[in-house]
């Protein structure tokens, strides 16, 4: 792929033409926040926190999906973008019941990290307090819908990497829930191979290893990175 040049936040960058803005930014140590994106699985552009401004267009572009182009000028952290990101994170906190202090992922949660990055100090929106269940019927793992942000990383990793397609999303809009098989207890979902990739892919504490401590949750995430690098780049670096 021929290389092209663009600027991101004023920095002149050259990148392979098939890269996304997000990939090009990351390689050049420019941090763009993401939630639904996960290297190694398809991008869906759902969380909208990676939106950037591209000059010449009045539409914001999801950097996880938008390819770089010659002469492109990208802004990743204008005041407007920062405010939007903060609002989106607050909307997520208000949508389910996120109580970080009692969460297994506390300190190791991408949502929490993002809340800190965007400087969220309180939530301006009314809490929705949906009634959400916790399912611990699986012998190793559990799902706590109170903490799910519907990023569908579990769905994609299970379908695209493991090939089991145990997960999917049911309902729509605010009624959406991730489900296993026919919306049955995870422990009874016969398609599940108990590989644990979904747990590793989950950005929050929604999917967890039972009885795991915070430190173990972190290790899990690294395991997935290893797997993805191996698949994508054929490099086995642990």
């Amino acid at each position: 792929m021929n290389s092209i040049t663009l600027t991101i936040d004023g920095k002149l960058i050259s990148a392979p033409g098939d890269q996304t803005i997000l990939e090009a930014a990351r390689e050049n140590d420019i941090h763009i926040p993401t939630l639904c994106n996960l290297e190694g699985i398809s991008a869906v552009g759902a969380c909208r926190v990676c939106l950037v401004e591209v000059s010449g267009s009045n539409r914001l572009a999801p950097s996880c999906l938008t390819k770089v182009a010659e002469g492109m000028q990208v802004q990743t952290a204008t005041d407007r973008l920062r405010e939007y990101r903060k609002m989106i994170v607050e909307l997520l906190f208000a949508e389910r019941n996120h109580i970080c202090s009692v969460c297994v992922a506390n300190g190791n949660c991408e949502l929490q990290d993002l809340a800190v990055t965007v400087g969220m100090d309180h939530v301006r929106y009314e809490y929705q307090y949906p009634s959400c269940s916790v399912d611990v019927t699986h012998k190793e793992f559990g799902v706590d819908h109170n903490r799910c942000i519907l990023c569908t990383r579990c769905v994609r990793v299970c379908d695209e990497v493991e090939g089991a397609h145990t997960w999917d999303v049911s309902g729509r809009g605010m009624q959406s829930r991730v489900i296993t098989d026919l919306n049955q207890p995870w422990g009874t979902a016969t398609s599940c191979t108990s590989c644990g990739k979904c747990v590793q892919a989950c950005p929050t504490g929604a999917l967890f290893r039972q009885g795991s401590t915070v430190a173990e949750m972190k290790k899990d995430r690294e395991l997935l990175d290893f797997l993805m690098t191996a698949r994508e780049k054929k490099q086995w670096i642990g």
């Binding site: 552009g45 909208r48 519907l150 729509r172 809009g173 605010m174 009624q175």
Partner: protein, 547 residues
């Protein structure tokens, strides 16, 4: 088959028609007011009167003035009757022999009818939608034959571009340009999809066209397929429209049998097959990428564009998606020429637009008007104004559109003018509101709709519409303060600019337009400051920085 033969078929059909024809509306609206019984009673009355040799009764599609249904019209002199009761059938037939009828006479010279310009609806209410012969008798499928015999695909695209036709599904994208983009794609597999999802609550133009003149849409699809190089098409119809689906099925069967669809159409190398796909109750499936997902048997969640369906659509093949009304304009443009079409309408919005007039207005039903006509002319003259008093606002574009205040009724109807007013042309729903309508309630109604119809994929729309709905509910309940309105406006800005698809991007429009024109109605409902602390403040245990 050659043109001469097709014309001969048409002439033969016309010759077989009886000199006096009593047309009875059997579109969904009139059917629900018992028009089938009326049709039967008329048929019986004709036989009883011994007129069967020169009078026929035929079921037709929509005759437009739905509020007066069941509608009956007698040719050739054109007398029209409304709210016809089966009991009045004998006397209506009696008028043919010099009798009197007590049936309610509809004045066909009133502005509602007089000011219409018929292109899309020209056959509606005139032909039997369940007989392809009726469509042939009015020149049907001659445009397709002409295209196959006399025109290259490029010439067809070029004609559509010159006509200035723009998409009638809402966004107004130039149809010829869209066709050209797909025609250029080298792929061998391409698709044509007719978007008949008509999800905007308050719109029923597309249903009417499908129920009244389905072949017109099929012919448009076939011409489009020839122009772009497709051999397979789909009509995606709302599941809520059983009669439209039924008539489409009949039309498809007849068209295949007659050889105007299928393989080697008119003995040319052109093949085109059309299948029906039935929606299952999701407004978002009107959005083109969601619609494609739905045809592929998936959840109807939109995906980011680019790539546009013109490059990668159904099963990744280049795909043309056009609205029902857009496609219904194709055959007449071919027959009468791009220049003729471009001579109707305004500089940037050509041709006519069909509106479904409903709400607090005297005459409800369908109107087809030239672009550039004023809203006032439509709602006050043609619609006859509001029965209960004065018109307060006109809503166009449904949940993606806005409320246009009475003070702006002199605005011409075209894509740009309506957008400038904070609304959109939309697919053609036009709901009239009078003084009794509370505008904040209307905003809340549409927000509830968007919240329920959000697919849930992207965060701003899924979670943002819920918050906007709650704020609107608090305002309506009189519990909100000015700070809540500011919060609402900030959310409108977020959802509009960050949502993934058109549903979320336009969901704030009804709120923004009512805030723009009826802010005093919001203000009247507000509590004085000081504002109550946001309810969320106390409970949330804030994320602790990692340590």
């Amino acid at each position: 088959m050659e043109l001469a033969e097709l014309k001969e078929l048409a002439d033969k059909e016309k010759a077989e028609q009886k000199p006096i024809r009593i047309r009875c509306c059997t579109a969904a609206g009139c059917l629900s007011s018992n028009s089938q019984a009326v049709q039967q009673a008329l048929t019986d009355a004709v036989t009883t009167a011994g007129l069967a040799d020169r009078v026929e009764v035929l079921p037709v599609g929509c005759m437009r003035l739905c509020c007066e249904g069941p509608l009956v019209q007698v040719d050739p002199d054109g007398a029209m009757y409304g709210k016809v009761d089966p009991g009045q059938a004998a006397s209506i037939v009696g008028t043919l022999q010099g009798g009197q009828t007590e049936a309610r006479v509809i004045d066909t010279n009133m502005p509602f009818f007089r000011d219409q310009v018929s292109i899309v609806l020209e056959n509606s209410g005139r032909i039997n939608p369940e007989r392809i012969e009726d469509y042939l008798s009015v020149g049907g499928y001659q445009a397709l034959l002409h295209v196959l015999r006399e025109m290259t695909p490029n010439q067809v695209v070029e004609t559509m571009t010159r006509s200035g036709l723009r998409g009638r599904g809402g966004a107004g994208y130039p149809t010829g340009v869209k066709w050209g983009l797909i025609a250029k794609q080298p792929a061998t597999q391409k698709f044509v999809i007719c978007n008949a999802d008509e999800g905007d609550p308050g719109a029923f133009m597309d249903r009417s066209v499908l129920e009244s003149d389905p072949h017109r849409v099929l012919e448009g699809m076939a011409i489009a397929a020839y122009a772009i190089g497709a051999s397979q098409g789909f009509v995606y119809v709302r599941g809520e429209y059983p009669l439209a689906i039924h008539r489409l099925e009949i039309a498809l069967r007849q068209a295949r049998k007659m050889g105007v669809l299928g393989t080697q159409i008119f003995e040319s190398p052109f093949n085109f097959r059309i299948d029906i796909r039935i929606g299952a109750g999701a407004f978002v499936c009107g959005e083109e990428t969601a619609l494609i997902g739905s045809i592929e048997g998936k959840r109807g969640t939109p995906r980011p564009r680019p790539p546009y369906p013109t490059e990668s659509g159904l099963w990744q093949a280049p795909t043309l998606i056009n609205n029902v009304e857009t496609l219904a304009n194709v055959a007449p443009i071919i027959t009468r020429g791009a220049e003729w079409y471009a001579s109707i309408g305004t500089a940037k919005s050509k041709g006519t637009k069909v509106f479904a007039l409903a709400g607090k207005v005297r005459n409800t039903g369908l109107v087809e008007v030239p672009m550039g006509i004023t809203l006032r002319k439509i709602v006050e003259e043609m619609g006859g104004g509001s029965p209960g008093g004065s018109i307060k606002a006109v809503q166009t574009g449904g949940p993606s559109g806005g409320c246009i205040p009475a003070s702006a009724l002199d605005t011409p109807v075209d894509y740009e003018s309506l957008t400038a007013l904070g609304s959109i042309m939309g697919s053609g729903g036009m709901i009239v509101m009078d003084d009794a309508t509370k505008m904040v309630d209307v905003a809340k109604f549409f927000m509830e709709f968007c919240m329920d119809e959000s697919c849930g994929k992207c965060v701003p729309c899924r979670a943002g519409t819920v918050q906007m709905y709650r704020l609107l509910a608090r305002i309506v309940e009189g519990e909100a303060t000015a700070a809540d309105v500011a919060q609402l406006e900030a959310l409108c800005d977020l959802v509009r600019n960050t949502s993934l698809c058109g549903l979320g991007q336009s969901a704030p429009n009804p709120v923004l337009s009512t805030l723009r024109y009826f802010r005093e109605e919001y203000n009247a409902l507000l509590q004085p400051a000081p504002p109550a602390p946001p309810p969320s403040n106390q409970r949330i245990p804030l994320p602790v920085a990692r340590g």
